[in-house]
């Protein structure tokens, strides 16, 4: 018995060593056609000769299980009527119900989430802690809050909830800023814009109007809303560094970058410096982007930040940050030094060179091949549809990129399957396991086109564990929870961040990739409450999702379909 245990442990150690070193070469994504998925919705970007800027920025998209059946559904954001656009036909968002057989059914009208505004993005969370996900749809115009009624329908409650805001909102992040057990929300605001500002940028050498560079427009203040716990929200940014910081927010992610237990906010701004708001809990917010060296490029320039994410990329226990920028600026991978500052390692990791001619939007750190290392997917596309007619080697449609994680990240886009060899006008990107096989699939919102659904066939044979965290004292979605696990004498961890990507929302479940490892010593959840209570699960069964309810000792296993 003892010999057998030792043998198992030794095998596990060996497997970890092997998975840490081997070039898995197992990335494989396959495009799922509309005919196969049943997703026939097409984004309307409202493109006009005047080239109004909002036309170029959408759409966002999301994975969510709106009906609680264990299958990830899909939500897609559309444009709609605005002060510069009067669509001849009704434009609507789309909610597709996952039928569990690889196909989706359009349930938008029945669910009541059509929209009726010029939508931009979507942030999904259970803000009312009732066990089902709600939808915050940002917009050029009035944002919408769709409260899930638990019966397959939603009710629009933005005004009643105190979130009525007509401006130009973009990405939003749900997180529990004050650790009171319910989700607050940061809503990014872009620039001051109205219909009179269309057609003002022109002649690009072709005698045509083009989309203005956002530096021409005035910055705005984003907002933080505190959840009152009764279905309503109050402004929590007034008098804080958040209200003082005028930016042009396009991407937002919430993570505890300084490890003080409170979720901080990292904001990607377009043409002005990025913001890093440190959350000091009762002592308020502090903007430290410049000190932390994430505000500007290494040569002191503000870049065109769009998509963001946060994760412990290199496994050193600290949260790193990523920002996608516009072509010529290169993307940034900010490695957390652990002293309150970050180092942009995009050049030594090869990310800078690979992204030199690209403009990045949606993105996500995740373990796509289940080998235990954090990979990175990037959705790209230039905002100017005429760019290739007046700038060399920069194209409107751009390729997706995939970097394999590990001690030395590798650009594996060339080996990741057909969709990575094509070009897309990509914007939003959401990651989720829609077929419940443990492999994270990808949904990309394309500007003015049909969305792209990628089925992940990477990492065949690798083991995994999926976690569905349910907060009780903590916020129900457990956003901010830290998950640690021990295998082969090593402990790894990740945090469930809020927001991230661009205008989009991911599958809320957590996937731990294990490679060839066949058993875990334990998994521990550090819940996002003021006491940071911990809950450990010893030797969980693998290759399945388990539901972990805060303070309930035994997880409820969900069988793999």
């Amino acid at each position: 018995m003892r010999i057998a245990s030792c043998l198992v442990a030794a095998t596990a150690v060996l497997a970890v060593l092997l998975t840490g070193q081997q070039d898995s070469g197992k990335f494989q994504f396959v495009e799922v056609s509309p005919a196969d998925s049943g997703i026939h919705w097409i984004h309307d970007n409202a493109r006009s000769d005047s080239r109004f800027l909002p036309e170029s920025l959408g759409p966002g998209c999301a994975f969510l299980d709106y009906d609680g059946d264990g299958w990830q559904d899909v939500f897609l954001v559309n444009s709609g009527p605005s002060d510069f656009y009067r669509p001849s036909q009704k434009r609507r968002n789309a909610l597709y119900r996952n039928q569990g057989d690889g196909t989706f059914l359009d349930v938008t009208e029945a669910a009541g989430v059509e929209g009726g505004t010029f939508g931009m993005g979507v942030a999904v969370a259970d803000y009312d802690n009732d066990g089902d996900p709600d939808l915050l749809v940002t917009a050029y115009g009035a944002l919408k809050l769709f409260q899930n009624q638990g019966d397959g329908t939603f009710r629009e409650v933005a005004r009643r909830a105190g979130l009525a805001w007509t401006g130009w909102t973009t990405s939003a992040a749900w997180f529990d800023a004050d650790l009171d057990g319910d989700l607050d929300v940061y809503i990014g605001s872009f620039v001051k814009f109205d219909a009179s500002m269309g057609g003002i940028c022109g002649k690009n050498g072709l005698g045509l109007h083009f989309y203005c560079i956002p530096s021409l427009f005035e910055p705005t203040a984003s907002r933080l809303y505190r959840n009152n716990g009764d279905g309503t929200f109050s402004r929590a940014d007034r008098g804080t560094a958040i209200a003082e910081a005028l930016g042009k927010a396009l991407g937002v992610v919430a993570d505890d970058v300084d490890g003080n237990g409170y979720m901080d906010l990292f904001i990607a701004n377009d043409t002005v410096q990025n913001f890093l708001f440190l959350n000091h809990g009762p002592d308020g917010w502090e903007e430290v982007g410049l000190w932390a060296e994430v505000a500007f490029s290494a040569d002191g320039r503000a870049r065109s930040g769009m998509g963001v994410d946060a994760a412990d990329w290199n496994g050193d226990g600290k949260s790193d940050l990523f920002v996608a920028n516009v072509d010529g600026e290169m993307f940034s991978l900010y490695q957390n030094r652990g002293d309150g500052t970050f180092l942009d390692v995009a050049f030594p990791t090869g990310i800078a060179e690979a992204t030199r001619l690209l403009s990045g939007w949606g993105l996500r750190f995740a373990d796509f091949d289940l080998d235990g290392a954090v990979d990175l997917i990037l959705a790209n596309g230039h905002p100017d549809d005429m760019i290739e007619r007046h700038r060399p080697r920069v194209t409107y449609r751009e390729p997706l990129l995939l970097f394999a994680g590990g001690s030395s990240p590798r650009n594996v886009s060339g080996q990741a399957g057909g969709p990575f060899q094509e070009r897309w006008p990509a914007r939003g990107l959401a990651v989720g396991d829609y077929d419940n096989n443990g492999r994270l699939d990808v949904l990309v919102g394309n500007n003015g086109e049909a969305p792209l659904v990628l089925r992940n066939r990477s990492g065949a044979g690798n083991h995994w564990l999926g976690l569905e965290l349910v907060g009780v004292r903590s916020n129900r979605d457990a956003i901010g929870a830290k998950v640690s696990w021990r295998v082969g004498g090593k402990t790894r961890s990740l945090r469930k961040v809020g927001g991230g990507s661009y205008l989009s929302s991911h599958d809320p479940r957590i996937i731990i990739g294990l490679g060839a490892v066949t058993s875990l010593d334990w998994v521990e959840i550090e819940w996002p409450n003021r006491e940071r209570t911990r809950q450990r699960i010893e030797k969980p069964a693998l290759n399945r999702y388990i539901k972990v309810i805060e303070s309930v000792p035994q997880p409820v296993a969900r069988p793999v379909p």
Partner: protein
């Protein structure tokens, strides 16, 4: 392109012949023979042995300077020429060699001062005018280049180097038609490296970077050592996003033309981006030597110092730079970062406040 180098060789030969005539000493003859055979290091040693015995032989010292210059040891050559001039004040051959050594070692302002101190009649020749005009061109003072070369337009009609330099300078100073007339003369002479350079430059101005790169590559094919050809190709490749190839061509330019400002600066920038701090700083210091007043250079040096962890040195560079150019926003961002790294929070906050106060309102739509 720059024909004056050929004239310099002639000047050197004159010096050597003069030396041979002036001295029948076997040691001098032996040194000269080594020099002629291209055994430059040995010639340097031999010349120095002669001078150790008789330091007053200014002609031997001039030859020593020429041998050192041929070895690329310009600072030593300059010292020898200056020493020779103390024995033979006003000697035109030595002064020409000195001016050339200044130019070759990127001490462009000293080269200009030297030439402009000569009597008017000694500055009238085409070769001297080309050297002087080229120095100004490299300093980015194209209007002076035009002023110096224009009087020679009637007599240098078939000189491609002259036509290219004057033509390019005219185009850069806004006289596109005047520049184009000279350029057309080169083009009428058939396919030449200079003609390809001109066509490449025209494509760059038209934003046709692929075609520009092809023209510059053809220029290099015709004349691999044509000054600025690799530099132009490198800059074009930067526009095309190919920084690896751009760096390679900047390095090739520097091999034959170390005084090219753009090649030194841009290779320094690329090396800095790649975190090759030592190499970046070396290239950037070369660029500073070429154009001591160019603001971008100390800024890039400061960034490389910051990257290399030499924060205090970076601070000094940035403080000096901001004294001269208080509106240099990116430099102020970097200075704030540097202060923060040094733990000087108050100074950093001061810079941040200045950044806020100087940011102003965004530009109004055009």
């Amino acid at each position: 392109m720059r024909i004056h180098w050929r004239f310099v060789v002639l000047w050197l030969a004159c010096c050597l012949v003069a030396t041979l005539i002036a001295s029948a000493q076997p040691a001098v003859e032996s040194a000269y023979r080594l020099h002629q055979q291209g055994r430059l290091a040995e010639a340097v040693t031999a010349y120095r042995q002669v001078l150790a015995a008789d330091p007053s032989l200014f002609d031997v010292r001039t030859n020593l300077g020429a041998a050192l210059a041929a070895l690329g040891r310009y600072d030593e050559a300059i010292a020898e020429y200056r020493a020779a001039l103390t024995r033979a004040p006003g000697h035109l051959g030595i002064r020409r060699n000195l001016a050339l050594a200044y130019a070759k070692s990127a001490r462009l302002q000293e080269a200009i001062s030297e030439i402009e101190s000569w009597p008017e009649e000694q500055r009238r020749s085409l070769d001297v005018a080309l050297l002087l005009a080229d120095c100004y061109f490299r300093l980015g003072k194209e209007a002076r280049t035009v002023a110096i070369l224009s009087p020679h337009e009637g007599t240098a009609a078939d000189h491609p180097g002259f036509l290219y330099l004057l033509g390019t300078a005219r185009i850069r100073t806004g006289d596109a038609s005047g520049g184009q007339r000279l350029v057309d003369r080169i083009l009428r002479q058939g396919d030449s490296a200079e003609a390809q350079m001109i066509m490449g430059s025209a494509h760059v101005m038209g934003g046709e970077f692929d075609r520009a790169a092809a023209a510059f590559r053809r220029a290099i094919e015709i004349n691999p050592t044509l000054p600025l050809a690799h530099s132009h190709l490198g800059k074009t490749l930067l526009e095309l996003g190919d920084h690896n190839e751009a760096l390679r061509h900047f390095e090739l330019e520097i091999e034959t033309n170390p005084t090219d400002f753009d090649a030194q600066l841009l290779s320094g920038v690329i090396l800095r981006e790649r975190q090759q701090w030592k190499a970046a700083l070396a290239a950037l210091e070369h660029a500073r030597k070429i154009r001591p007043t160019a603001m971008e250079v100390p800024y890039q040096i400061a960034l490389a110092l910051l990257g290399a962890g030499m924060t205090a040195e970076a601070c000094r560079e940035l403080e000096q730079l901001l004294d001269a150019a208080p509106g240099f926003r990116e430099a102020r961002v970097s200075l704030a970062t540097a202060y923060a790294r040094l733990g000087q929070r108050e100074k950093a906050a001061e810079q941040q406040a200045l950044l806020r106060s100087r940011s102003g309102n965004p530009a109004k739509p055009q």
